[in-house]
Every structure is written in structure tokens, then in C-alpha cells.
């Protein structure tokens, strides 16, 4: 490892070499294993992966004085090549139509493309190391840095690892008939553990005929014997037993007279951690402009 050992401090070229190495490794993994199968990360695999990731970060941090690479990873100079790689891959994603199947090989399923996943993982690791490094100094003025770097890690890691546990179902409820079966994106039938009865679907329109309001007056019956009556409309979901129920669709052929309403049922056990991360990032951004921006220089 003479190459990586000599000539301290490392320059950004080393960072780009690591980025290149990750891209290359990613391509190899893509060829050998095929695209990333996020479904495999369902509970408790995601918990194990999380523990392994945190352990790896902990070990790297503990060895930072012994292994120069780990110390280097905490600095802004290591973030630049990583962010450049992530930005370029994200731009490529924005230029290629993202579709479930087919399209441009590899690039049209960017979220399942190993190089993309590896680069973002690398970004999470160095951001976590940097946050840890500042956290242990334990000073008030380190808080903005910690909020920004830890916030992004908490939000993105829990969003990614939690994605396999997220249930997203569609339930079609006809007036006066409680329905307990729902369909997932892949067409499979599920029983989410609650039944929904539609009392009335409402569609209001503006004078020019464009839709103004969609709403479903429903009763939700749960397995533990509760029944909750409420109105679900766009931007106003109903929360019952850990499920969030959203207005999704209706019979467009009948419009205001639609005999059924399609409801979307979402359950995301990791959402609290995503929110914690997001609020840390919001607080971090506030600190970014109030405390982290350089002091104005006047002539």
C-alpha cells in the first residue's frame, strides 16, 4: 500500500481515484450480481446492515490516528471528489428516463445501479465520520456542522434502509361495502389488517371544469375492533393504526357520481428517523446562513 501511504497529506486526486475505484467495483458487482435488489433489505436485514455500517464507521473512527486514510476521509478535501461523483451520476439519472424495466441498460434503473449506490454509501460514511469528529469535540460552535453532516446521514440512511419495509397499497372501496383487500404496485393482493367502507365520494369543480376538491367520507374498521370515521382528501390523509390513508383516485367515467374511491395506504416504520434527519437538516441550513457563512468583508 505504498501508493496510499506516502505523500501526506493526500490531495484530491486520491479522492477521485477512490471514486473511480468505487465506480469500477460497482460495475463489476452489477455484472456479477445484477442490479441492487432493495427488496432483500426488508426487516431485519436492514437492521443488520445498519449495525454493520455503524460498526464500520466506529472502527474507522477509532483507527483514525493509525490509518491515515480514515483521518483523511473526514476532511472537506475528501468530500469534493465524492460529491462530484454523486452529482455527475445524479445528473445522468436526470438525463435518462427512469423506468421500472427496460430503457437504457443500467442507467434507466439508476437507483439499482451499484456504482450509484456505492458512491452514495461512501458519501454517507465520510459525512458520518466528519460529524463524529466534530461531535467528540463537544463545543457549542460545532453544533451547526454536526446538524448538517449528521442530519443528511440520518435522513438518507433511514430512508434507504427503510424503503424495503415501506408498504404502499391501493384499496378500492365501493359505497357501503367494507373492503379489506388491497393491491401493491406489483399487482399482488394484500390484507393490510383494516377494512374501509366508503360512505360518499365528493368531487367539486371550478367554474371552468377543472377539479377543485376530491374527498372520501369513510369509516375504517381495524382488527382490534376500533372503527374510525373520517374524511380523506388530497393533502389531508387520515392516520389509523400506523397506516396513513390518502385519496388516490376515483372512477373518472362517472366523475361526481363515482361509485368507488381508490385509497392509498402507506405504512413506513422508519419515517420518524427520516423526519428527525430532515429537521436536523432544516436546523442545519438555518445555522449555515446564520453562523457558518463567512463574516462580511468591507474595504
Amino acid at each position: 500500500m505504498a501508493f496510499f501511504g506516502r505523500h501526506k497529506p493526500w490531495n484530491m486526486k486520491k479522492g477521485f481515484l477512490i471514486g473511480g475505484g468505487l465506480l469500477f467495483t460497482g460495475v463489476l458487482l452489477q455484472v456479477v450480481l445484477g442490479p441492487v435488489r432493495w427488496g432483500l433489505f426488508a426487516w431485519p436485514v436492514n437492521l443488520i446492515v445498519l449495525i454493520a455500517l455503524l460498526a464500520a464507521i466506529g472502527v474507522m473512527f477509532a483507527l483514525r490516528r493509525k490509518v491515515y486514510a480514515f483521518e483523511w476521509m473526514m476532511h472537506a478535501g475528501a468530500a469534493v471528489p465524492c460529491l462530484v461523483c454523486a452529482a455527475v451520476l445524479t445528473m445522468i439519472m436526470g438525463l435518462t428516463p427512469q423506468v421500472r424495466m427496460g430503457g437504457i441498460p443500467w442507467l434507466s434503473q439508476m437507483l439499482r445501479f451499484w456504482p450509484f449506490v456505492l458512491i452514495w454509501t461512501w458519501m454517507m460514511i465520510i459525512s458520518a465520520l466528519a460529524a463524529l469528529n466534530h461531535l467528540l469535540r463537544w463545543k457549542i460552535r460545532e453544533i451547526p456542522f454536526i446538524l448538517n453532516h449528521l442530519g443528511v446521514v440520518v435522513a438518507i440512511v433511514s430512508a434507504t434502509l427503510g424503503s424495503a419495509d415501506t408498504q404502499n397499497l391501493r384499496l378500492t372501496s365501493f359505497t357501503g361495502e367494507p373492503e379489506w383487500r388491497a393491491v401493491s404496485d406489483d399487482g399482488a393482493l394484500h390484507e393490510p389488517g383494516l377494512a374501509i367502507e366508503l360512505h360518499k365520494f365528493t368531487l367539486e369543480e371550478y367554474d371552468d371544469g377543472t377539479p377543485k376538491r376530491f374527498a372520501s367520507d369513510i369509516t375504517v374498521y381495524t382488527e382490534d375492533g376500533k372503527s374510525v370515521r373520517g374524511t380523506v382528501e388530497v393533502n389531508k390523509p387520515l392516520k389509523v393504526n400506523g397506516w396513513k390513508i390518502y385519496q388516490y383516485g376515483y372512477d373518472v367515467n362517472y366523475g361526481t357520481e363515482s361509485p368507488y374511491s381508490v385509497l392509498q395506504l402507506v405504512r413506513d416504520p422508519w419515517i420518524l428517523w427520516v423526519y428527525i434527519g430532515i429537521f436536523m437538516m432544516i436546523a442545519g441550513a438555518l445555522c449555515l446562513m446564520l453562523f457558518m457563512a463567512p463574516k462580511p468583508v468591507r474595504e
Partner: protein, 261 residues
């Protein structure tokens, strides 16, 4: 209030801003503030009037977002002036604001009253308004970057400091806009981030500005590279704002395209 009366408010606003810019060159500080703030008030009166008569915040169409952009440019301009005393900044913000006003006058978009249900949310206004303010600041940072790159000489500490500040504050507002959008999306669609083309470009833009920030920390002497990154970032920002309406990869996939009929 309707778009028919826009020209009068726009005229009043631009004349007052231009006077403010003129007094900045003449170093008459009090008059700079009076004129610029009066112009901002006149222009905001129109936005407020539209808000009331439309019975919704004027944020839905491309033309309506341009309205806010024209409003925030002088706001950003006067803030920069108050901190750095640049004589030219108000001339620049007035000119750019004028350009966007002209676009609205000569190429108005569909300005209907209806607001589709997905947009009826308390998150709608903050999401778009903080984005427009961020775009105004990052636009000013881009002009600074071009100015420093063209001169090729060593940029002064003051110029680099101003650019850094514009990016720090602009990026903070960009982050607010993105995260407010995520919180809103969760309430509207059940997912906070769906990698919709607009979201993908928002992420790319955000990463680009983070590159700038970290490069400035790691290599303060390489300001020319940092300026070049600002140009790339601003291109991403434009793709995110309106470019995706024309991008083949986003056709039929984005829920964020303007003026859906």
C-alpha cells in the same frame, strides 16, 4: 387585481428601483433605502392583490413564479448592498428584475384561477417562495463568478467573500425549499422523495453547490475552479426550474411540470 394592472405596478416598482440604483452610484445612502424599499412595497402590493383576487397564492404558473423572482431580486440586492456597499449591485438586480417583468408582460402564461387539489396545501407558498429567493441569491452568485472569471486577475478578498456569502445563504434557502417539498410530498402523495425528474435535478443542483462549499474549505486558493463549479451549478438550477419542461427524459414522468391543463 388582475394581470391587466401589472404594467402600472411594474412601472412604479422598476422606476423606484432604478432611482435607488442611481442614488447608490451617487452615494446617497438614505435615498437608496427609501427608493428601493418603496419599490419593493409597490411591487408586493401587486402580488398581494393577486393573492386576494385569485383566492390562492400566485405561485402556480411559470408566470407567477417569475413574479416572485422579480420581487426577490431587489430584496436580495438591498441586503447585499447593506452589508457590502457594492454600488453596482442594485443596478444589476433592477436590470435582471426588469428582464423578468418584461417576459411576464410580453409572454404571459395561462393565468387561471383554479388551483388543483394537490397544490392546496399550507406547504405550497413556503416551498415556492424560499426557492425563488434562493434562485435570486444564487443568480447573483453566478454573476459574481462570471465577473471574476472574465477579469482573470486575482479576485479581491471582498469579491470572493461576497460570492461565498451569496452561496451560503442561497444554499440554505435551497435546502429549505427542497425539504419543505419533501414534507409536503409526504402529506400529498405518501412519499417524501420519489426521484421524480424535478427532484432528481434538485438533488443534482444541491450536490453541485455542496461541491463549491467543500472546495472553498479544502482549497481556498482555487477560487477559479470554484467559480467554474458555480456556473455548472447554475445550469443545473435552470434545468431544475424550467429546463425539465423540455427535457425528453422528463416527458410524461414529472408531476412538477407547470401549466398542466
Amino acid at each position: 387585481m388582475s394581470w391587466d394592472s401589472f404594467i402600472w405596478f411594474a412601472l412604479g416598482g422598476v422606476l423606484l428601483w432604478a432611482s435607488g440604483a442611481f442614488f447608490a452610484w451617487k452615494e446617497r445612502k438614505a435615498l437608496v433605502y427609501v427608493c428601493t424599499l418603496a419599490g419593493i412595497a409597490v411591487f408586493f402590493a401587486f402580488i398581494l392583490g393577486m393573492w386576494i383576487s385569485l383566492e390562492r397564492p400566485p405561485l402556480r404558473t411559470m408566470g407567477e413564479t417569475r413574479l416572485w423572482y422579480s420581487f426577490f431580486l431587489p430584496v436580495a440586492g438591498i441586503i447585499v448592498f447593506s452589508r457590502w456597499r457594492y454600488k453596482w449591485i442594485l443596478s444589476f438586480s433592477t436590470l435582471l428584475s426588469f428582464v423578468f417583468i418584461c417576459v411576464n408582460l410580453f409572454k404571459p402564461d395561462i393565468h387561471s384561477k383554479s388551483l388543483m387539489p394537490a397544490l392546496q396545501s399550507p406547504w405550497f407558498a413556503p416551498h415556492v417562495i424560499v426557492y425563488m429567493f434562493s434562485y435570486a441569491l444564487l443568480g447573483a452568485a453566478t454573476v459574481m463568478a462570471i465577473y471574476m472569471l472574465i477579469r482573470k486577475k486575482d479576485a479581491t478578498e471582498k469579491e470572493i467573500n461576497l460570492t461565498d456569502n451569496l452561496v451560503y445563504v442561497g444554499l440554505a434557502f435551497l435546502t429549505f425549499g427542497m425539504l419543505f417539498g419533501a414534507l409536503w410530498a409526504k402529506e400529498a402523495w405518501g412519499t417524501y422523495w420519489a426521484w421524480d425528474p424535478k427532484e432528481t435535478w434538485a438533488a443534482a443542483t444541491w450536490l453541485c453547490y455542496l461541491v463549491y462549499l467543500h472546495l472553498r474549505k479544502a482549497k481556498p486558493a482555487e477560487w477559479e475552479t470554484a467559480c467554474a463549479i458555480l456556473l455548472v451549478s447554475f445550469i443545473c438550477l435552470q434545468i431544475c426550474w424550467w429546463g425539465i419542461n423540455y427535457l425528453p427524459s422528463a416527458q410524461g414522468l414529472s408531476i412538477h411540470t407547470y401549466n398542466v391543463k
